[in-house]
Amino acid sequence: MSRNFMKHVYGWLLLTPAIILLIAFTHYPTVATIVDSLFSKGTAIRPSRFVGLANYEIMIADPIFWKVLSNNAWYAIGTIPTSIVLAIAMALLVNRSLPGRSLVRMAYFTPTILPMIAVANIWLFFYTPDIGLIDQVAGIFGIGGYNWLGDPTTVLPSIIVMTIWKEAGFFMIFYLAALQNIPPELEEAARLEGSTRWYYFRRVLFPLLMPTTMFVMINAVLNSFKLVDHLFILTKGGPDNASNLLLYYIFESAFSYFDTNYAATLTVVLLGLLALMALMQFYFLDKRVHYR
């Protein structure tokens, strides 16, 4: 047998264990989700049958679906730009000499390694009416008794603040890595030219950090769709779905209402959104190569 032929055999043998698991838990379920979304919910009396796009019609008429989708959009808009601004500020602050620099950097990064469940547990107490920390402080000024997580207008902002706290330090490290690759001569030159720090940041640093910002942004958007753990502790998507997010709604549909076919339909929407982001990433990463 030729060596060339053995190459194909070895290649596939090495790959087989991984590819079997990948097919079983990524490709097969992706296809099965799409198929399931075309079938009706089966009951003891009426078995599941092909219904075409009926589930999608139900979804489009479902006000909760639209609520959840717009919540996801607001959640992303609320968390990502602020996290990025804070991450850049943190990176700039710890990138120069500073007494106790490693402690400061540690303080910024620590929330990243905490599980979202633990974070939610800690923050839940801040938001609890009357006895919570925020109300205690507000109580000093004579305002208080506010139910931050119980009011549809403040519940999403409350969760956004918590998420920013959790994520800013994580994004900081990517900016730190990028800053370390920027030659210090640039800042020297800018200073010699008499430009202010703000001008240097706006015209030199920020454009140079653009690839990092792109990378962080795409990751942040993905995270905003994938991470819903905190809802289990803080709000369960309530009050009245004011803080419900798409993945949490999928979970509810499948494991609380036992409507796996509707859950599959919702999952198809999520898959579509992720595919869209994959395309965007592809496009922007191309740009990034040109930039270099």
Partner: protein
Amino acid sequence: MKTNRFIPRDFQGVLDAGAAWFLALLWIAPLAYAFWAAFHPGEYAVHFDIFAPLTLANFREALSQAPFLRYAFNTFVLVSTILTAQLVLCTLAAYAFARYRFFGSDIAFALVLVQLMITPEILIVENYGTLARFELIDTILGIGLPYMASAFGIFLLRQAFKSIPKELEEAARLEGCGVFGVLWRVYVPLARPTYLAYGLVSISHHWNNFLWPLVVTNSVETRPLTVGLGIFGAPESGVDWSIISAATLMSVAPLLIAFLLFQRQFVQSFMHAGIK
């Protein structure tokens, strides 16, 4: 001229340091607060007093109300099972992609990359069905299985293997090494930094993972820490705040301590893993 320049810059430096420290204090405050609540009696949870008595009663109480040690053991088994399987499967697959141009390798690689975007937690509904068919619901193996072939790991290791000069492999072959010998003696040792980075990222991800373990488990024998904590801390369970703080700290302690000890490695690993 020197003095002229340095005075304002120094002042700027003080301002910067002040801002950095202020932000750092703000950032660590929630965690510091959890420490405060956990180590003091319940009545001091919102009442700050330097002379408040320290106590471990909250930890004892949390341990008596829920089997956190068992949960910690489950998490440990889960994380090490996943990591071991990932290291083996990803090494083999990455080696295939890095050094063999076999029939269909491009398509196979594209199929692997799909998982970077569509991670298993999104497919909870179908994956739950698959596990049910194999009777793996409520097993630690069941929680781990969807994560074992990690596209991220394959991708990272492939990059690392590709940067290793081919001459080293040829030399090893002349010495009589087979496929696995070359892999074990040349590629694996030279890719150690990548293994470390991937290992730390994988451990912290699975230590903290919640949604999929929640779906799969329903008994004390399999539940990892996050799920145990999630059930424990649910508002309707009506547990005292100080005790929840103690339970929260116990759940994050192993990872937090590891992070504090190996801070540099953690930060560099996350950086390394993100940039590739």
